[in-house]
Subunit: 250 residues, 2 copies
């Protein structure tokens, strides 16, 4: 059953108005749904309901929250993926895949070795597109919330934000080369439910020495295994490992 | 330093002839290397040497194996990723990323819900292209061998091959939905060094019931967490988890 997001908290048996144009188009024209059909709605408080369509007009689809679904598809920890600006198609692919894999939010920023440049004006347009990619991936992968995408102009601003996080990990290629194979797992095993984790990834050319130095006292440099992963692949390794460590039992 | 593959076993202080046209072009024209320069060569026996270029002609680059490098970038287990045929660009992404993440070989096959079709003639062309993608990804990610890509016409043929493998795991979406969260980790914890593992992934629409039934007695149906992963994402989750379980300590 198709899934949609509503920016309100859930209430059983209440009626809700879907007013997002893309959602309305999708319900009416793509899925060709009609009064009496059911859809799945994820609410702002991460509650998921099976909802019945009770009315459809040009401006809105009215649904009634019928059955609360006991679903928990969100990672028990909040993972922010901060990457250096990388080429557009690669970043879009990263956003889609990392959303499937459970990332809570994304920050992209100009780093010393970013080949791509982005000014504030261009960023606004890009963010709209990126947010759309993330929303679609969230629906498709049965997420219960839509990750947020931000553009921050440089890494110093990120540095100023780190107090918001319980753990800051920097994926440092050189760690992998030096046979550092313990820190990442050590860190994941310490994560408590609800922990806020900032994962930092460099652009195609990796972090500069200045960038490593800036975070030296606040971030743990972790290696992600012995192979060299591309900028868009490393976050997927990290997220998969986090899910494997925390969500799978055995 | 740039990495190349040679289809011969290593021997210290011996001379070797690089005759692959793409490699020669890369060494001469892309990297603009000359006599006396050094490159890294991965040999067939998964030994890696720093080699000095001793001669360059139109037909070959002659190198001398100078220093044995103590590198181990191959996963300690052999993972074959068998996927249902999926759309071309998605499969190419999968090949590139899964090579970075350590897959040993790839099989793609027509499955019941594959939208894409491939006949033997087209397959030959595709395989050439796929093999090139995998080779480049292997070089870039510092792999010590090049994964092989095969096309097999249907899943029954795969079924006939399964005696080659120590473990056969089928990524089954429904397992994840049913809160099956233990089998995959259980299986990975049992893997011994050198184990041959076949991982089966469906196409975009997943496995058909007949396909699940065919492998019922020989494969373990494992869930990869609570979110629905696309056909090209699930293998990356599995490979990352395998690396995390086996290669990282903590």
């Amino acid at each position: 059953m198709q899934r949609y997001f509503l920016n309100q908290n859930a209430e059983p048996n209440q009626r809700f108005f879907i007013t997002d144009k893309n959602d309305i188009h999708h319900i009416k024209s793509v899925m060709r749904q009609t009064i009496g059909d059911e859809i799945i709605v994820n609410f702002l408080d991460q509650q998921t309901y099976r909802c019945k369509i009770v009315n459809i007009t040009a401006e809105q689809v009215i649904v009634e929250a019928e059955a609360h679904l006991l679903i928990q598809s969100e990672l028990p920890v909040e993972i922010t993926i901060c990457s250096g600006l990388i080429k557009g198609d690669k970043y879009e692919w990263l956003l889609q895949k990392a959303t499937e894999l459970g990332a809570t939010s994304f920050i992209t920023t100009q780093m010393d070795r970013s080949v791509v440049k982005l000014n504030a004006q261009k960023a606004t347009k890009k963010l709209e597109r990126w947010q759309k990619i993330v929303k679609e991936a969230a629906e498709q992968s049965y997420r219960q919330c839509i990750p947020q995408v931000q553009f921050v102009s440089n890494l110093t601003e990120i540095y100023d934000m780190i107090r918001q996080y319980d753990h800051v990990l920097m994926a440092y290629e050189t760690s992998a080369k030096e046979n550092e194979r313990t820190l990442f797992k050590d860190q994941l095993r310490q994560l408590k439910a609800g922990a806020k984790v900032l994962l930092l990834f460099g652009p195609e050319g990796g972090f500069s020495e200045e960038e490593i130095a800036l975070f030296k006292d606040v971030a743990m440099n972790v290696g992600l295994g012995p192979r060299i992963l591309r900028a868009e692949t490393a976050p997927l390794y990290a997220l998969s490992a986090i899910s494997y460590e925390i969500e799978l039992m055995g």
